[in-house]
């Protein structure tokens, strides 16, 4: 819907946002503002990390589940919203 598109556009125009990626469950990018190789790299690596994080969370309490993952590094922050069918990744530079 238009609302989704609008929200996506807004996210991309926020201050410090470097890129937005939406990939499906197989790692195929649906929407991305970065180039293809970077997108595929991010998607693959973050998927593995998300799996590991989810496994960790659920190992501690099987009724729990992972909802969000944020990785803050020196240069930027990667925010991952994982789901069964897709993964939403936003890379932002918060100190800009």
């Amino acid at each position: 819907q238009a609302e989704v598109e609008e929200t996506l556009k807004r996210i991309q125009t926020h201050k410090g946002v470097i890129g937005t990626i939406v990939v499906n469950a197989e790692g195929i990018p649906i929407r991305t503002t970065l180039d293809n190789s970077t997108t595929v790299q991010y998607a693959g690596l973050l998927h593995q990390l998300t799996m590991k994080a989810r496994s960790t969370v659920r190992d501690i309490d099987p009724q729990n589940d992972l909802t969000f993952l944020r990785i803050r590094s020196k240069k930027h922050e990667i925010m991952v919203a994982p789901d069964k069918e897709y993964m939403l990744i936003v890379i932002q530079n918060p100190s800009e």
């Binding site: 926020h14 946002v17 499906n24 197989e26 195929i28 693959g44 496994s55 659920r58 919203a81 936003v90």
Partner: protein, 784 residues
């Protein structure tokens, strides 16, 4: 004759020995005798070479006699005694298998075939050859004359004490081959096309090895006979030693030459499979097994599988590969394995469309959360300041200021951020209201004050977590002039508009239309509604009046009370109140039929007594009214010379109220005095809004056209303590204090709602009620 069976057995023992010579022919007549003789010695397994040869010779003789053909004798090996010890081949095909039944008994040249021939004869027919018949009778004599091969086998095997593997091999080999030939002759051309029914039945148990026990239980019936036999034997052995009847002779068994046979089989492929069974893995399997239905979420959580899936990117990867991957990994429980196979079938048939993903609810939710997180990153220091959390910069500044020791820092306003987006630019902020339950939710109404250039109004609900885009946007048909959130049902927002309509919206739902609209009402307002408020009447006049009611004041001079009837879904007006226009100084008590009514601009209910309220009119009069008395005002306060824009009771001192008007002044009143206690004027601009601070009794904020002021009566009653000028070209129109923090929101005519934080500002400890009262008291005292 019974012993001929043994003879045959011995012959079988020594397959390799064979002699076919003409000599065999010659001694045919005495063959039987020979057989008999040899049979007596045949009890022991170790037979001498000569004996064997005789036996064999006997056999071969019979063979020659029965069959017409002459066997081939190319090589003959003779031992030192002249006996034929030609090594025989393991097996020779049976040329005489189809021929007469006599030959069948010993049709082949090898002794190995004889065994099978035994079987073949038994399958075929009974013995009817004369010569063979005698023989067969003798042969079969040990056991019953039965056609079943097993009986012969069993009878044979009973006597066999030490089966050698060699013999077994030969038996089986020949057996197999003969049987194959049998089968071949049966199949004919036309039988190939027939449907052959194969019946699989359980065959009788074939006993391949039977080692009968050599010990007998004491309780059995044979025990006595066995004991007797044993004793006889021991006696015999004792007698043997010195007896002439017995002569010891040594024997030598012939060691058969071993033959290696190589067999090659296909390499057994081994595949390693591993899986990780996590805590949640087992939990998921347990849950899905308990439900008895396919649970899609169990599958994707498998770390091993998922990793294998996502090692291959790209469109070449298919679902079939995932299935093979799954099948190769070990599964925790068999039931879950079944269930896991199924859900992966489903996605392969209908892969989630990228568009479907984008439309899904979860995606929208994730986007929503993601946006908030991004904004939190951007606005984090500002939001932290709003929430009065210590920030790193603030702490650094504090240290610096303490070093400088300049003196008490001056109170100032720090602009944190502003709520605005492209929708709201150019619109005039007319009113703001906090949500009663969620102090982070702000409703802002946009509408023009003036009669001209009216455009459709807008109501935006902003959340503190997203200053760049409102959570809810409602467009109204005319400019919005008043807003209020209900306290009892926190999601109801009442909106008063420039055309007199009052609408209520439910901000929880995503609908853009109002829940209830007053435009259908008969007694609706005909002029702009300048203020709406939800009032909770504790003391109900009648059963109907309990609960929360919506009060509105409009420019047509009426204060109306609205009830929302849930079943009727219609605003129902119950009572009204009219303002009377003052003519001069006198009060007109009589009610004319056509009375000119003064437009009401604002009102405020008493904080503790919900029956009393103050109303301000365009003429500058403040009327104190009561809900229970509709006809007349209780009091009238006259001081202002222009329309009153705001009246507000002090939240701390229950009989003190403030009023501001376009005559550039703010007046502080006390309920019982008809002249204002204090008046404040700072600039020659109309004061649009005034509000008491929720934290200190002596502090209030006011906004006039050009600037925003914070007054602290404890500090000074002549000048505002903090002054914040507006940006050029922008008029400030409304003011709102934040309830829990030291922040002030200011709305302007450009559609921006700016959030300011009061820095270094404190009016003192506590609520300063006493200070206010002292000020009032001292002012009054000085006036007298």
């Amino acid at each position: 004759l019974f012993n001929t069976l043994a003879a045959v057995r011995v012959k079988l023992n020594t397959m390799l020995l064979y002699s076919r010579s003409s000599r065999a022919m010659n001694i045919s007549t005495s063959g039987i005798l020979r057989l008999n003789r040899s049979a007596t010695y045949a009890r022991s397994i170790n037979a001498s070479v000569s004996r064997k040869s005789f036996c064999l010779a006997a056999d071969s003789k019979i063979l020659e006699k029965s069959s017409v053909q002459t066997p081939k004798h190319t090589i003959q090996v003779l031992d030192e005694n002249g006996k034929d010890v030609t090594p025989r081949p393991v097996y020779q095909p049976d040329p005489a298998a189809v021929q007469s039944k006599h030959s069948k008994i010993f049709a082949s040249d090898t002794s190995g075939g004889t065994m099978s021939d035994f079987y073949s004869t038994t399958y075929q027919t009974t013995t009817n050859a004369s010569f063979a018949g005698a023989f067969t009778r003798s042969l079969f004599g040990s056991g019953s004359v039965s056609i079943g091969s097993q009986s012969i086998m069993e009878s044979m095997s009973e006597e066999i004490e030490d089966p050698s593997s060699k013999r077994d091999n030969s038996i089986s080999l020949s057996d197999v081959q003969v049987k194959r030939e049998e089968v071949k002759e049966l199949i004919q051309e036309e039988m190939l096309d027939d449907m052959v029914d194969l019946y699989l039945v359980e065959s009788d148990t074939l006993c391949l090895l039977d080692m009968p026990a050599i010990s007998v239980s004491v309780d059995s019936m044979e025990a006595e006979s066995v004991k007797e036999r044993n004793s006889r034997y021991t006696e015999l052995c004792k007698n043997r030693t010195g007896n002439d009847k017995y002569m010891g002779r040594s024997m030598q068994t012939f060691n058969g030459a071993s033959k290696t046979k190589e067999v090659q089989s296909e390499a057994i492929t081994m595949a390693d499979a591993a899986t990780i069974a996590n805590n949640w893995d087992m939990y998921d399997s347990f849950c899905s097994a308990g439900q008895g239905e396919v649970d899609l979420s169990t599958d994707t959580d498998k770390a091993s599988i998922a990793e294998m899936i996502h090692q291959n990117h790209g469109p070449t990867r298919t679902m079939e590969r995932t299935m093979s991957v799954i099948s190769s990994s070990t599964i925790v429980s068999s039931s879950s394995s079944r269930m896991e196979m199924e859900p992966f079938v489903v996605p392969s048939e209908s892969k989630p469309d990228p568009e479907l993903i984008l439309q899904s609810e979860e995606f929208q939710q994730h986007l929503f959360v993601m946006e908030r997180i991004i904004l939190e990153n951007i606005y984090q220091p500002k939001l932290a300041a709003y929430r009065q959390l210590p920030t790193l910069e603030g702490m650094v500044l504090l240290e610096e200021s303490s070093l400088d020791e300049e003196g008490p820092p001056t109170p100032a306003l720090e602009r944190l951020w502003s709520f605005s987006c492209e929708l709201t630019t150019g619109r005039n902020v007319s009113s703001m209201a906090w949500n009663k339950r969620n102090p982070d939710l702000l409703a802002v109404g946009y509408g023009q004050f003036a009669f001209k250039d009216q455009k459709p109004g807008l109501v935006c609900c902003w959340s503190l977590k997203n200053p760049s885009w409102p959570e809810r946007i409602f467009t109204c048909q005319s400019g919005v002039t008043a807003l209020d959130f209900s306290a009892s049902s926190a999601s109801m927002l009442a909106v008063g508009m420039h055309d007199g309509t009052i609408a209520t919206y439910n901000v929880q739902s995503r609908e853009k239309t109002p829940v209830i609209d007053s435009s259908d009402c008969v007694h609706k307002h005909t002029s702009p509604v300048w203020q709406v408020r939800w009032i909770n009447h504790e003391r109900a006049l009648s059963g109907e009046d309990k609960g929360e009611a919506l009060i509105s004041v409009s420019a047509d001079g009426r204060i109306s009370k609205w009830f929302l009837r849930k079943d009727l879904m219609k605003l129902k007006r119950t009572r009204n109140d009219r303002f009377k226009r003052q003519v001069g100084e006198k009060e007109r008590k009589s009610e004319a039929l056509i009375s000119r009514q003064a437009p009401g601009l604002c009102f405020d209910f008493h904080p503790t007594d919900s029956n009393i309220y103050l109303a301000g009119t365009e003429e500058g009069h403040i009327h104190k009214c009561s809900c229970s008395y509709n006809e007349q005002f209780l009091e009238t306060y006259q001081a202002h010379k222009g329309p009153l824009y705001r009246i507000t009771w002090s939240p701390f001192c229950s009989d003190v109220f403030l009023s501001c008007s376009s005559d550039w002044t703010i007046q502080l009143w006390r309920q019982d005095l008809f002249t204002p206690v204090l008046g404040f004027m700072s600039t020659q601009r109309a004061v649009y809004d005034v509000m008491w601070s929720p934290k200190w009794a002596t502090v209030f904020g006011a906004v006039n056209e050009g600037r925003m002021e914070i007054w602290d009566l404890g500090a000074s009653i002549l000048d505002p303590t903090i002054v914040n000028p507006a940006s050029p070209g922008v008029k400030l129109t409304s003011l709102l204090f934040a309830t829990e923090t030291d922040c002030v929101l200011v709305g302007d005519s450009d559609g921006q709602v700016s959030v300011y934080q009061l820095k270094n500002f404190t009016a003192g400890e506590g609520t300063q009620v006493g200070t206010l009262e002292d000020i009032i008291g001292s002012t009054l005292a000085s006036q007298l």
